[in-house]
Amino acid sequence: MQRRPLVARHPSILIFLALLALFTLGVTLLSEAYGTGYLSTSFVKTLGKTLCLCLVAVAMDLVWGYAGILSLGHFAFFGLGGYMIGMWLMYERTRDIVAGSMAEAAIPPTEQEIVDAIGTQIFGVVGASEFPAIWAFADSLLLQLVLVVAVPGLLALVFGWLAFRSRVTGVYLSILTQAMTLALALYLFQNDSGLRGNNGLSGLQNIPGLTDVPQSHVSMWFLWASAAALALGYVLSAWIVSGKFGSVLRGIRDNEARVRFLGYPVEQYKLMIFTVTAMIAGIAGALYYPQAGIINPAEIAPIASIYLAVWVAIGGRGRLYGAVIGAAFVSLVSSWFTGGQAPDVNLGFYTISWVDWWLILLGLSFVAVTIFAPRGIGGLVDLIADARRPDRHGADLGPDQGALREKEADR
């Protein structure tokens, strides 16, 4: 049978890409750098970061919504990507400063002296001066860019191979991935890890070689890059889930044993999707942290990965645009509430200050979504779609109720 092209099978991709392009264009026209200046640079940075979060949410949706693996460790991969690019940013920026200052000395410095001085600058903050072995490639942008994908991918590959091989599934896997994140965060918290411990890598928004370019421009460039990465990631994800591979993934999610009995190498499929999504998360992180300016181990604490799952669940898992909606909606609303912009509610006897009560609201709305609206915000789309198409009233295909099953299987 002749397969129709991807875009024809999934018109939502085109709509998504169009909206994303429109959004990017809009922001550009309203920005300080290239437009009217209506949007402040700090808000452009927030939007750029939100796009990166959307990308990692798409990855999370692939692994959870489509393959049924509730990974509570994908923010670890996100953070690792950030660390990898951060190492190059710090090294090169410091190198510029140090080389400039040493050039004024009477005797020109040797290569080793420059490296030592960079080490003193970077690690002086945490009471050391030696370069640890993991900084071996920090002077090469290309190698560090490879590492942005390779390190999260490799970690996911090794961890996934161990976990899937011994058939750890369901909540056990979730707890295990959470343990992995915790172990990684604790490891990075140590100074011995060589990544400046609790202090992390900072000053990442200053791009080496671009010291004269104002941040308003740099932030726009990063927004474009993030939008492009999100678009590519979205299309890639849509392509993955649309083909035979995607069908097997959904099969694994709905009944792993049955798929295995049909002769599919379930573990390899899971490992594949786990690793690919880890790489996507790494790329998202590498784009996110130069915009945030600082990365430290607290970023990959287990709670961050749980929030990631929260976004996907609120947006609606099992559909890629749901993940994007969830990540964008929750993170933007969250920053609006905690930013002190939300007006306090005066009840007469007590004033609800959202800084204090926002987390409670978030927690409870999360409970409400899981119980009452398992399809999340994306479920609203179904309301419209259902109005046009008769409901088939099919039973759930798998034991795990909730997300749409039957209709997906029909496609």
Binding site: I107, R165, L359, T370
Partner: protein, 654 residues
């Protein structure tokens, strides 16, 4: 000038007012006046003469004056520079007492008074001076204080008075202390080497820190260099060869350089400095400055400077070796008597073995204690997760609620003991209620969707945590333990464990027994097991599964609440208390094997011992211990995915 005038005036007043007795025996005030500068400077480095002057005054009130001073009760009257004992009446007024007679001198305004505040270093020196007075003091508390001071600062002078005071000692506890101290002082200070060796041999089986603290200084050494064989009069500990681990080659050579016996070896920085000083017309010894960016060219340039006689030559490696070979490096004991050092070394070696055993025991106790804390935190989870299969991410917050309940009770119920007794059942009630409410409102809708239970309970967890912050603030709250839980059970100086840890251990055992009893001997346990194994079958047997689930979940949560009180007593009460334990608790249950309380026990034990074991290998980094422990668990689960004790057959599900 004015000061002298005031002082003499004051003397006049004093002479007029002071009673006859002080006149007869002499007043301490002149001594204080003489030392006034030192007393007011109040620094440990300079205070000794003042203390000695008072102690050696021979006045009967010297002891009380020293004690008053030590207790920060001595005050200076600014107008006349006189010293008094003062008692606070309120912020503005103090009542003064004469130091000689103790006579009440009436009330004085605080503006005119200045408190003399000896720091703890000075207080220690005063205590040393007081030893001679207090060793035979009728008050046993004073004698105890004297002994304590001697333990802290043993000194040669105290040996004779201590020996004299032993005979008259009536209190058996103090007598034992005095005898022990006498042995220690003999080891360190006795003139007769035979007596010292005897004392050392006698104490060679004692693991006390004080014994080691006495023996180690006897063995103190100094590294010395000899040109030729060292003289026989020295008590040599060992000779060292340069280049060994104990004495690196560079260090040995540096010793010779600093003694002026060898020319210095210039480091790269020194070479660079020399080059920088010799730049002429943009080049050094004919080499362009911009070419000096490698060590090799710098070395070449320097060698040319040496050849020109501008810079001093640097010894080659062979020359360094030749110089080093001329000298003998040896560690020399400060103690001249070889017999004493040999005995001390032998005693220390025998103590070291005992200490090692003691440390192993102590580590085991610590590990057991940590295991019991993990077990206590995980036991509620063993019910809700292990038996019912419900992932409750808010479990940690139930622990926190228990701890806060303990704190709130302590605000209303006076007395730590009573409040703890009230808090335990109340914490159970509160978290039982919260657990039941959560089961009814949330979890029962999600029994078939474990992953979503995880997320929903996580939502509850962050809401509860923030709620606690809103109510109690983010500051840690004090939860005071009763007196009988303060302190530690001390076996010796190496092995000890605090009572609160023992109590937690006991509580963990009680809960284990309770769990076994409820699950195996009560109707609720029977019904719980029935519902877990086959809900429909159980329901058709007349069991109400909803009720059973509710009660079981409540029970698990309630136990978490009690654990919270215990953990709050042991550590701290903050809104993030639960978070610290939630991942570890899940690991404990998963590692042990879901659905089996013995598995949880084994899991907790394994994690506790593992963590302490890793800490022992890497003592300066407790974070590493936690990291490696988690990695170990991840690997462990690869080999036993169902935990240490895996359920078999039907109960295993799937």
């Amino acid at each position: 000038m004015l000061r002298v005038l005031f002082a003499s005036l004051a003397f006049l007043c004093l002479a007029l007012t002071a009673p006859a007795r002080a006149q007869d025996e002499g007043s301490i005030q002149p001594i204080l006046q003489e030392q006034s500068e030192l007393i007011q400077e109040s620094s440990r480095r300079t205070i000794q003469p003042a203390i000695d002057a008072i102690a050696a005054s021979g006045l009967s009130q010297a002891q009380t004056v020293l004690e008053t001073w030590q207790a920060k009760d001595m005050w200076l009257r600014l107008t006349d520079g006189q010293y008094f004992r003062a008692e606070r009446i309120n912020r503005e007024t103090y009542r003064l007492f004469d130091l000689d007679t103790g006579e009440d001198l009436g009330e004085f305004p605080a503006d005119d008074l200045d408190q003399i505040k000896p720091n703890s270093g000075i207080r220690g020196l005063i205590a040393v001076a007081l030893v001679q007075f207090q060793l035979s003091d009728p008050d046993p508390e004073n004698r105890r204080a004297a002994l304590q001071s001697l333990e802290r600062d043993p000194n040669e002078d105290a040996l004779a008075p201590l020996r004299n005071s032993i005979e008259g000692e009536t209190d058996p506890d103090l007598l034992a202390k005095k005898q022990r101290l006498e042995r220690l002082l003999t080891m360190a200070y006795d003139r007769d080497p035979e007596a010292r060796i005897a004392a050392i041999e006698e104490m060679s089986e004692d693991t006390g820190v004080d014994v080691r603290a006495t023996l180690n200084p006897i063995l103190s050494t100094r590294l010395r260099v000899f040109n030729g064989a060292p003289p026989d009069s020295l008590n040599i500990a060992r000779t060292l060869t340069p280049g060994s681990d104990a004495l690196p080659r560079a260090e040995a050579y540096e010793m010779l350089v600093s003694a002026g016996d060898a020319p210095s070896r210039l480091g790269p920085d020194a070479i660079k400095d020399t080059l920088a000083q010799n730049i002429t017309d943009g080049e050094v010894a004919g080499i362009q400055v911009h070419n000096l960016n490698t060590q090799e060219t710098r070395r070449t340039a320097y060698d040319r400077l040496v050849a020109d006689g501008i810079a001093p030559p640097v010894p080659t490696e062979a020359e360094v070796d030749a110089t080093l070979a001329q000298y003998i490096f040896a560690e020399v004991y400060d103690e001249p008597n070889a017999a004493v050092t040999t005995a001390a070394q032998a005693a220390l070696d025998s103590i070291a073995t005992r200490v090692a055993v003691g440390q192993a025991v102590d580590l085991t106790l610590d590990a057991l204690s940590l295991a019991s804390i993990y077990f206590l935190a995980a036991i509620g989870l063993a019910i809700t997760f292990g038996v019912m299969g419900v992932i409750n991410m808010a479990h940690g917050e139930f622990i926190m609620m228990g701890a806060y309940t303990g704190y709130v009770v302590q605000q209303f119920v006076p007395g730590p003991t009573a409040s703890i007794l009230v808090a335990i059942p109340l914490a159970f009630a509160v978290t039982f209620g919260a657990g039941v409410a959560m089961e009814r409102l949330v979890i029962r809708f999600l029994y078939n969707r474990p992953l979503e239970t995880l997320l929903a309970t996580f939502g509850i967890s962050i809401a509860l945590q923030q709620l606690a912050k809103n109510i109690f603030g983010t500051q840690a709250r004090p939860l005071t333990s009763p007196d009988w839980l303060d302190g530690a059970w001390v076996l010796n100086d190496v092995v000890s464990i605090s009572y609160i840890r023992i109590a937690i251990f006991a509580l963990a055992l009680i809960f284990l027994a309770l769990f076994l009893y409820i699950m195996n001997r009560t109707r609720l346990g029977l019904e719980t097991r029935a519902v877990t194994q086959n809900r429909r079958m159980a329901a058709s047997m007349g069991i109400n599964p909803d009720r059973v689930n509710m009660l079981t979940f409540g029970l698990g949560s309630g136990i978490a609440g009690i654990a919270g009180v215990a953990i709050g007593l042991w550590a701290k009460v903050t809104s993030e208390l639960g978070q610290d334990y939630i991942v570890q608790s899940f690991m404990t249950v998963v590692v042990g094997g879901v659905g089996n309380i013995w598995g949880t026990l084994l899991g907790a034990t394994m994690i506790g011992f593992l963590q302490k074991g890793i800490e022992w290998f890497n003592p300066s980094n407790t974070l590493a211990a936690q990291t490696y422990m988690i990695i170990f668990i991840i690997i462990f689960i690869q080999f036993r995915p169902r935990g240490i004790i895996a359920l078999r057959g039907r109960a295993a599900g799937d």
